[in-house]
């Protein structure tokens, strides 16, 4: 059967047979690099188009429909437009930090790709601390945002960066606590082990109400962490023009934009892996024939459909809830979500230890 793991394995054996081990490693690195870059570019194009189409669909209008068949090439045209725009640096700006910030944003988004299992036996780095790695790397993102805001020499940028810093560090806590709920249940930080522990049912079904609460808190927290509406205070258009990237233009702005969408994809992929079973097919107890049919759907299909479902959910939020004020936002986190997720973690622990889950 044609699957990602088979393709990667056959490439590996062919390279090993043709070249010696050093060249094999080099070629594999190059292939992995090219693969990741193309995934990056494709995801950026698809997600931007998807955002606009979903927005149009929710607001009962057509959305982009001029470039290419059904507007499919709209985001490609936007990329070309951004490519020919002049990328300028404002006069009073800290030039070094100003130009460094988008690169850091891209590096962080790229590094987060490492532990994600895109399909069965198909991931870049099967590390035993996958969950910790993701939480650690994703918090570097705030540095690039603060850097961009500080270096821009603009009041809007500074305000946006400060808000975004307060918001991201706050919501990191409840996101981490709800991730820990799954770590307690599966007893491992390895994303592959967590997926394997869901072979007989995803955690959201096996874990009763506490895991569902953890899932809801996780979705709220990652929406805030990726600076998306209703928590898009960092770039609130109506009050701060564009927040921390007000002064960015051309390709540097495009890099920030891309990093933002890749982050949305990554947090949704992590959510799908932890709560919805990653590439695990949907199985129901003893229904042998039903389970067999579900196994025929490729594992990558399962992963991407779950991830895109979560992305759709986050895009749906944007057009449903009004934006929060900064004090409401911090109240929501510190007075509601954090105590709830701490108590919820205790419930999950009791459930895991006493064996109340399925």
């Amino acid at each position: 059967m044609l699957s990602f793991s088979n393709i990667s394995k056959s490439i590996d054996t062919w390279l090993n047979a043709t070249f010696n081990s050093t060249w094999t490693m080099l070629f594999e690195m190059v292939i992995a690099g090219v693969g990741v870059i193309s995934l990056f570019a494709i995801l950026g194009l698809v997600l931007v188009l998807m955002e606009r189409r979903v927005a149009a669909w929710i607001q009962i209008r057509l959305g982009p429909n001029r470039v290419g068949p059904g507007g499919m090439l709209q985001s490609l045209a936007d990329t070309v437009k951004l490519l020919v725009k002049e990328g300028m640096t404002p006069d009073g700006a800290d030039k070094f930090l100003f130009n460094l910030a988008p690169f850091i944003a891209i590096i962080v988004a790229m590094l987060l790709m490492a532990p994600i299992a895109f399909a069965k036996n198909f991931q870049l780095w099967d590390m035993n601390i996958g969950v910790l790695y993701v939480t650690a790397i994703s918090s570097i993102m705030v540095i690039s945002i603060l850097m961009a805001g500080w270096a821009s020499n603009n009041k809007y940028s500074l305000m946006g960066a400060m808000r975004s810093g307060a918001q991201i560090v706050s919501y990191e806590l409840s996101a981490g606590l709800s991730i820990l709920a799954i770590v307690v249940l599966s007893g491992s930080l390895n994303l592959n082990d967590i997926i394997q522990s869901q072979a007989d049912g995803w955690w959201i079904f096996k874990g009763h109400i506490p895991v569902i609460i953890a899932f809801i808190i996780f979705i709220i927290a990652v929406t805030a962490e990726t600076n998306r509406a209703p928590f898009d205070l960092a770039e609130a258009e109506s009050e701060l023009t564009a927040g921390f990237h007000t002064e960015y233009s051309g390709m540097k702005f495009a890099l920030f934009f891309l990093a933002e969408y890749i982050n949305v994809f990554i947090v949704c992929a992590i959510g799908a892996t932890l709560f919805l079973g990653g590439w695990m097919p949907f199985h129901i107890g003893n229904w042998e024939s039903f389970n067999h049919i579900m196994d025929y759907i490729p594992s990558s299909m399962w992963f991407f459909s779950k991830t895109f479902f979560l992305i759709f959910l986050i895009m749906w939020f944007r057009w449903t809830f009004p934006r929060l004020r900064i004090d409401q936002l911090l109240n929501l986190e510190w007075k509601y979500l954090l105590p709830i997720s701490m108590f919820n973690l205790l419930l999950v622990t009791a459930m895991a230890i006493l064996g109340w889950h399925f």
Binding site: D91, F103, N153, K155, L158, E172, M251
Partner: protein, 116 residues
């Protein structure tokens, strides 16, 4: 692929973004004038310093976050071992959370979580 994937990813990110910025630099036509580099503030000249003072609330929240983030790091090894250790792990984490929550309530009482 193992730890080398991190190097690959960093290099891939650098090549991708550097190429994008360089191509843009080659393709675009640069023009300069006196007003172009001014900080954007809805069309009027900026009043005063742009690096202004900000609400102290940001600092307070960052300080409380630091405590809770360290708590989160402590919880990771606990979470892995919790199922194997059994009931003792639950008792320990209840004590841990109790102490932490007292600190949280103290901060709340002092008004650190209020936005001014």
């Amino acid at each position: 692929m193992g730890p080398s994937s991190m190097i690959v990813l960093i290099l891939a990110a650098l090549t991708f973004s550097t190429f994008a910025v360089l191509i843009a630099k080659v393709v675009t036509k640069f023009t300069t004038n006196a007003q172009k580099g001014q900080p954007y503030e809805c069309g009027i000249p900026t009043q005063g310093k742009t690096w202004t003072q900000l609400n102290v609330g940001y600092y307070l929240f960052a300080l409380i976050f630091l405590i809770f983030d360290v708590e989160l790091v402590f919880l990771f090894p606990w979470a892995v071992a919790a199922k194997k250790v059994g009931l003792m792990a639950l008792v320990e984490i209840i004590i841990f959370f109790f102490i932490l929550f007292m600190g949280f309530l103290y901060a709340h009482k002092k008004g650190a979580l209020k936005w001014m």
